[in-house]
């Protein structure tokens, strides 16, 4: 490990991996740190281990997960310096970064820092949420990826958002006993979302995927309760029953596992410690760092890529990582000029993938500025 690196990337998920791969092409020194034991972040958690040791699970997880295999392989083969199991705990104003690895704290300096620390499942503090057996729904998905394990007893899912349905779908494929899906979404919200439908139809594949997931759950004979309230977990030493109100009636299910999900929020611990400016995003109810189009934060030399900036999923994270690396290379003087593309005026010749990334990213930021429904067409 060197004393100082041109670009220090924290996080080896899709954003960090894509950034590292691009940065390595521009002859700048790069170090990647991640607190997990292997690259992949959460969306592609343990992709290499799953593919080599648990091929049936790998197949079950489907093409969205398998997409990460190529990314991880390209990263590994590029020979970029990577320290796994490294937990960053302090970054000083003089650009010295401290991390904990194997019980020892080490220090490394940087010229530019890219925080690609991603997002986390929003903790949902219902009564009884600390009982063993209560977990996040995305957490169960991560568990399946990282260790090939699923809940062994009866499961209830509760909450809202696409990941709830994705988790349910994967568990159904894994033949886990699901008793019910409890949706907290109020009927009124569907009506409120209607004006955005024409726009959402431009990324229809996301809507179709959602409908397919819901249909799979219904076909499996799993009851769905919508607009539930007063969700609580009960039990003595561990979860024994899930209670809720539905249409004015009290109901409950005896279960060993409750999977709750109310969306994903950016992990802002590092950007807060760095003193970056943050903004509240009312529509998704989370704080996020204030960034320009290239991912630069309000702190000089610090940029953010991926879900840690705005939660938009793995494919956009890849694109934003790619762009952040270009910006870093430019700021470090390894690239002479970056020409911005403002759609619809396409003027400059860049290679195909970069052109699409910039188009994607620019129009994405326009959407955020207009505060509109942010489902975008995949690359």
């Amino acid at each position: 490990m060197k004393e100082i690196y041109d670009l220090l990337i924290i996080g080896a998920g899709p954003a960090g991996l894509a950034a590292a791969i691009e940065a390595a092409k521009h002859k700048i020194s790069v170090l990647v740190l991640d607190e997990q034991s292997e690259a992949g972040g959460q969306i592609y958690r343990s992709i290499r281990t799953t593919q080599s040791l648990r091929p049936e699970t790998y197949a079950l997880l489907g093409p969205d997960y398998q997409h990460g295999e190529n990314l991880e392989k390209t990263f590994r083969e590029a020979g970029i310096e990577f320290l796994a199991g490294a937990s960053v705990w302090q970054v000083e104003p003089d650009r010295a970064l401290h991390f904990l690895r194997n019980g020892k704290s080490q220090k490394v300096s940087y010229r530019r820092l890219l925080a690609a620390t991603g997002a986390l499942e929003r903790p949902v503090a219902i009564p009884g949420w600390t009982l063993p057996g209560v977990m996040g729904a995305a957490a169960a998905d991560v568990l399946l990826k990282s260790s090939g394990a699923v809940p062994s007893g009866k499961v209830v899912l509760a909450g809202s958002g696409p990941l709830l349905w994705l988790a349910a779908s994967r568990l159904v494929s894994a033949e886990v006993k699901i008793l019910a899906v409890l949706e907290t979404t109020k009927y009124a919200y569907y009506l409120q979302a209607l004006p955005y439908l024409p726009q959402a139809l431009r990324a229809a594949e996301y809507l179709l995927k959602g409908l397919r997931l819901k249909r799979q759950i219904r076909r499996a004979g799993i009851p769905v309760f919508s607009g539930i309230r007063q969700l609580r977990a009960e039990g003595a030493q561990k979860l024994e029953a899930v209670h809720f109100d539905h249409r004015g009636q009290s109901k409950n299910f005896e279960a060993e596992t409750l999977l709750i999900h109310e969306g994903i929020v950016p992990n802002t611990q590092l950007t807060r410690q760095l003193g970056c400016e943050h903004r509240w995003y009312e529509r998704q109810r989370y704080w996020h760092p204030l960034l320009d189009e290239w991912g630069n934060s309000s702190v000089d030399g610090v940029a953010v890529a991926g879900d840690g900036g705005i939660v938009a999923g793995a494919l956009i994270a890849e694109a934003s990582g790619h762009l952040s690396a270009l910006e870093a290379a430019f700021q470090l003087g390894a690239i002479q000029k970056i020409i911005e593309i403002r759609p619809p005026k396409l003027t400059v010749k860049l290679s195909g993938i970069i052109k699409r990334c910039v188009l994607f990213w620019n129009s994405y930021f326009r959407q955020i500025r207009k505060s509109s429904f942010h489902l975008r067409r995949t690359l």
Partner: protein, 98 residues
């Protein structure tokens, strides 16, 4: 509380939890191996004494903290099992951990 979806192609491994041997498989986390082996609570909360088990499975909730090979407060959901690992619940007795 948990079960393995399928057996992994990796090696069978023995880890030790509170001096008892536990069967694990290469490529899984310590926390997952313990929960698949029937350990229902990984630790107790220091003040209330309530049982606790992992919540987030990604390293942000700190409910999976265990002492691993003498080092306290390791996030067991992030650490892959290794042959012969010695795992203990967190020591609540001030200054008595290894």
């Amino acid at each position: 509380m948990l079960k393995r979806l399928r057996n992994s192609k990796g090696k069978n491994i023995t880890i030790w939890f509170e001096e008892k041997p536990i069967s694990a498989q290469e490529g899984e986390s310590v926390a997952s191996a313990l929960l698949c082996a029937g350990v229902e609570d990984l630790r107790t909360a220091p003040l209330s004494g309530a049982s606790r088990a992992p919540y987030c499975w990604m390293g942000v909730c700190f409910e999976c903290l265990l002492e691993i090979d003498g080092q306290p407060n390791r996030q067991s959901c992030l650490i892959p099992v290794q042959e012969g690992m010695r795992i203990r619940r967190p020591a609540l007795n001030f200054g008595e951990s290894a």
